[in-house]
Structures are given as C-alpha cells and as structure tokens.
C-alpha cells in the first residue's frame, strides 16, 4: 500500500485569469494528522476541492488513497469524509434526516449507533430542523456527517469554526481518536493553537504555493526562541551577540539581556558557560508567531 494518503504534484488552478494555485506540492502520510495553514484566499479550500473533483485543476496531478480524483471520483468519495469550509444544509430537514439521506447516498454504510454516539458527544439535537440551529450546531452536523461512515481519510475545511471552546476540544479529541483508528486527517485552519495541539505535521500555503511542510514539533523546535539571561555581575558578553543566529533584543540593565535565538542553542549555552549566570529563561515561539512570520515576509514584498 502507498505510504501516502494524499500526493499532490504541481497542482495549478485558475479562476478565469486569476491563478489560485501555483503548483502545489504536498503529501499526507497515511494515518497522520496534517494541518493545512494559510490565510483567507491562500488556496486551502481550492486544494481540498480539487481532491474531491468538485473543481477541475488545469495542471499537476493528484492522488487520493492511490486514486485519481478526475478518473475515479466516486471511488474516492466513498472512502473520504468531507466537511466544507462554508457548510450549507437543507434548512427544512432535521439533522437525523440529513444523516439518513447522506447515509443512503453512501449505500447505508454507517452504523446508526455510531452516528448517535457522535451526536451525543457533540450534544447535537437530532430531531430539530436545521433552520432552528445556530451556526455552531450546524457545524456539529457537518462534523458528524464527515465522520459517521468511518472514512479512511477526512478532509476538513475549518472544522471547529463556530464551535464553542468545549466543543472545539471535543472535535479535536474525535480527530485524535480517528487517527488512533488509522484514519488520515487533513484539516485546514487558521486557528493555530488547534493545529499545534493535534497536527503531526503542518503545511503552510501562501498565495497558492506551499511554503513550508514540516513536523509540528520540528517546526517549533527550529523556530525562534527568546532567551532572557541574568548575570550575577555586570558583564560585557559581546561574544554572545556575535554567535550565529543570536541577536540582541534588549538590555534590561547591566545584569540582564534579552536575546532572540534562531535554531540550535548549543553554541549559546557553551559560550554562556564562561560567565557567572544567575538566571536563564527560554521561551519557545508559538506556531502562531511562526505562521505570522511567513506572512510578514509576504507583506514586506
């Protein structure tokens, strides 16, 4: 079996003369949770919709679960769960009727007990018409329908949008459990904290091009850190500031310095060993700050 649930090479998509995707290259390993980050209009939704043959790309290739979406869309969709970024449901139906309808479209593959279990966990009222639901409750319907047939791959476009923090946590737990059962989870988000919480890897898309794909931990590890040092006595530690990747941000007084360190800490710690240090504090940059750094770069252009 192919190691990758999703393989995208050089994907290009135009909307008229506007080029939405500039050759997207991306792979999602089977059984992983891949977070797909990017601001509005970066190409997240377009990439996901190409994978389901909802829109047709003009260039590049896509393989989803070893199949080509343009050649075998139904075979892929039978094995995939999808939650659109802009979820619209038939307002006159109840959640229960919608699940029955979608279940029939899938050939009655879902177990009704499992649907009720998922609904209970999200505190979803099954017999209320959709028109009486809040945005958050509609989103719960979307989450349940994406998971109810136990798909091999779930494609989720902003899955926690509109949910309260407790429900957001519950949805993230569901995704983690799905992963434990071997499901590949591909989800786009601009809530960085949730990507940081559950994603094994992160892909960042900017202006229709993937600018970074890395393991979440590694991305955090090799990111900037802020290091606050307090010496025991006034110290002129100029050599610290000349180390590769080290930048002096501020001097509190003669005793304290605030440094920004990019990458490995080894050289800094070894050099620092020559000096009498009273306190040493390090703070890792959040994924959010890394993400923003990509876009600050974009705005500077």
């Amino acid at each position: 079996m192919n190691e990758f649930a999703i393989t995208i090479d050089g994907l290009e998509k135009y909307y008229g003369s506007f080029k939405a995707l500039h050759g997207v290259d991306l792979k999602a390993k089977r059984g992983e949770i891949l977070g797909f980050l990017g601001p509005n209009g970066a190409g997240k939704t377009t990439t996901i919709r190409c994978m389901l043959d909802l829109i047709h790309p003009q260039g590049g290739t896509i393989s989803v679960l070893g199949l080509n979406p343009q050649a075998e869309p139904e075979a892929i969709k039978a094995r995939v769960g999808y939650l659109p970024g802009e979820l619209h449901l038939d307002e006159n139906m109840t959640a229960q009727q919608i699940f029955r309808y979608f279940n029939r479209l899938r050939g009655n593959r879902s177990n009704w007990d499992y649907i009720e279990e998922l609904s209970d966990r999200l505190k979803l009222e099954l017999k209320t018409p959709i028109k009486n639901f809040s945005h958050g409750n509609k989103q719960k319907v979307g989450v349940v329908q994406a998971l109810m047939h136990r798909p091999e791959l779930v494609l989720l476009d902003e899955p926690t949008g509109g949910l309260d923090p407790l429900m957001q946590q519950e949805v993230l737990r569901m995704l983690a459990e799905a992963q434990d059962n071997g499901v590949t989870v591909f989800f786009s988000s601009h809530i960085i904290s949730e990507v940081q919480a559950v994603a094994d890897r992160v892909a960042v898309i900017r202006e229709g091009k993937i600018v970074e794909v890395a393991e979440t931990a590694s991305l955090l590890h090799r990111s900037m850190r802020q290091v606050r040092i307090r010496f025991q006595q006034p110290t002129e530690a100029e050599e610290l500031f000349k180390l590769p990747g080290v930048e002096l941000i501020a001097k509190d007084d003669d005793l304290g310095v605030l440094l920004q360190v990019e990458g490995d800490m080894d050289a800094l710690i070894k050099t620092l060993a020559k000096y009498p240090v009273n306190d040493f504090e390090t703070e890792r940059t959040s994924l959010e700050e890394i993400f923003l750094a990509y876009y600050e770069g974009e705005e500077d252009k």
Partner: protein, 286 residues
C-alpha cells in the same frame, strides 16, 4: 439514483401540492362555466356580437367554437394554461441544480459517492415526473368537472392528447431553462430569460392569426406547435411531438455534459466570467 429521486421528490412536495391545487381548481371550474354559458342565450348573443363588431378579437379567441366542449376547452383553458404551467417548467428547469449550487448544498452532496451523471439524471427524471403529475392532476380535474356537468363531455383518452402535446412543449421550456442555468451566472437570470421566451412565444402564437407580420415568427414559436382541439378531434401529430421530445433530449444532453465539466461553486451566484468560461467549455465539445 433511487435515493436522488426519492429526496428530490420529497423536496418537490410543496410544488406539487401548491401548483396541483391551483391547476385543479382552474380545471374544475371549466365544466360549471361551460354549462352556464351554453345555458345562457344572452351570453351566446354577446359572443355572436363580438364576431360581427370585433372579428379580429373573436378570431384570436375562436369565439365561434365556444359553444362546443372542445372549443370551450380550447379557448378558455388551453389558451392560457400552457403559459401558467410553462412558468412552473422554466422555474423547475432553472432550479434543477442551480438552486442547490447557489444555496451551497450541492458542494456537500457531490462530496458523497454519487456521480454527477446520477445526480443530474435523477433530478431531471424527478422534475419530469413532477411535470407529468401536474398535467395528470389537470387532466383528472377536468374529468372530475365533467362528472357534474350536463354538457361538458370529452372522452378521457381523447382529453389526454392535448396534455401529451403540452408535455413535450413544457419539457422544451424546462430543458431550455436548465441549459441556461448551466450557461448563465445566476439561476434567476436563466429562469427570467426562459420565462421571457415563453411569454414571447405565447403572444406571438396568439397574435399571429391576425397580425400577418407575425406569421413567420410564429413558425419559430414553440407554442404554435401545441395541439389542443386538433389533437382531440384528429389525433396527436406524432411528428411534431417526436421533434419536440428530440429537441428536449438534446438540450438535456448538452446541459448534462456542461454539468459534468463545470466547477461547482461553493455557493452564491456566479459572475459573467463564469458565462465566458462556460461558453468556452461548451465550445470544446461534449
């Protein structure tokens, strides 16, 4: 396919009930009004007076034949009912897929293992079925009105023939609206354009009998080929019926091909750039 048809029919319940009640009421009145008219010498005198003083007006509405059940039905029912049910047909055709696309629900439906072909033809068959149901309601209601009318009598199977002819014409406007919904950026534009063509066809056909300049235009007006009294009296002209069914199928096939190739929008109406792209896709051939 069965699931698609079943759920499409479910969402058409309102249309069937609403349109069905209206059309049934209209048909049921026919028998009573006919008895009232033929029983009234004054009314017949008025009709005869029209024929003398306003011959063109009397000719358009064929007043001379109104004292027979077939003539009455032709003048008082089939002169305007095709326009009314035609408006249903254009609305249904334009909404077949575009309503769900603009409402944003098509995206999620097509993310399920149902092919575009199944969805298209499932919806198409449902709308065809709903059209047939509405025509059958009208037909049955006319038969019902005959049961309590003394003078208004037409054999049931003969009465079915004008409705058969009407079906082919309605399907033309339905498939035309469907095709326009695949081409134009918004469903309401497709519906409006198809409805305008329907209304134009109605007036061109109606007036062509008295306005010579409209005779040529009437040859291109679909409602000219609607057979009502002639179908009951002489039988259905199967050639024209077959031609219209063939045109309906061609329009449906082109729409199906366009649906196969198009990008499904997330929701909302499209833009004119969408029309340009669709024309290019259509130009590339099926």
């Amino acid at each position: 396919m069965f699931t698609v048809i079943r759920y499409s029919l479910r969402s058409s319940r309102g249309a069937i009930i609403g349109w069905g009640i209206g059309l049934a009421a209209l048909a049921i009145m026919m028998g009573s009004f006919f008895d009232m008219m033929v029983g009234s010498n004054e009314m017949m005198d008025v009709m005869n007076a029209y024929a003398v003083t306003m011959p063109e007006f009397a000719e358009i509405f064929n007043f001379s034949a109104m004292n027979t059940p077939i003539g009455w039905l032709d003048v008082e029912y089939f002169s305007f009912v095709p326009l009314i049910i035609g408006l249903f047909a254009t609305g249904a055709g334009a909404s077949l897929l575009a309503r769900d696309e603009e409402g944003g629900t098509l995206d999620l439906i097509l993310a399920h293992p149902v092919s575009r072909t199944t969805l298209f033809w499932g919806r198409f068959l449902t709308t065809t079925l709903v059209t047939i149901i509405l025509l059958l309601i009208s037909w049955a209601s006319l038969l019902l009105s005959m049961t309590w009318s003394e003078n208004f009598t037409i054999p049931a199977l003969d009465l079915l023939l004008p409705f058969t002819s009407l079906f082919a014409i309605l399907m033309f406007f339905m498939t035309l609206a469907l095709l326009l919904s695949m081409l134009l950026p918004a469903r309401r534009m497709a519906n409006m354009l198809a409805a305008m063509l329907l209304v134009a066809s109605f007036f061109i056909t109606l007036m062509s009998g008295v306005v010579d300049q409209l005779e040529r235009a009437a040859d291109f007006s679909p409602l000219t080929y609607l057979e009502t009294a002639t179908a009951i009296e002489d039988g259905l002209n199967l050639t024209w019926f077959g031609v219209f069914i063939a045109i309906d199928l061609v329009l449906a096939l082109i729409s199906w091909q366009m649906f196969q190739r198009r990008d499904v929008r997330v929701g909302g109406e499209g833009t004119w750039r969408f029309l340009k792209r669709n024309l290019r896709v259509a130009g590339e051939g099926g």
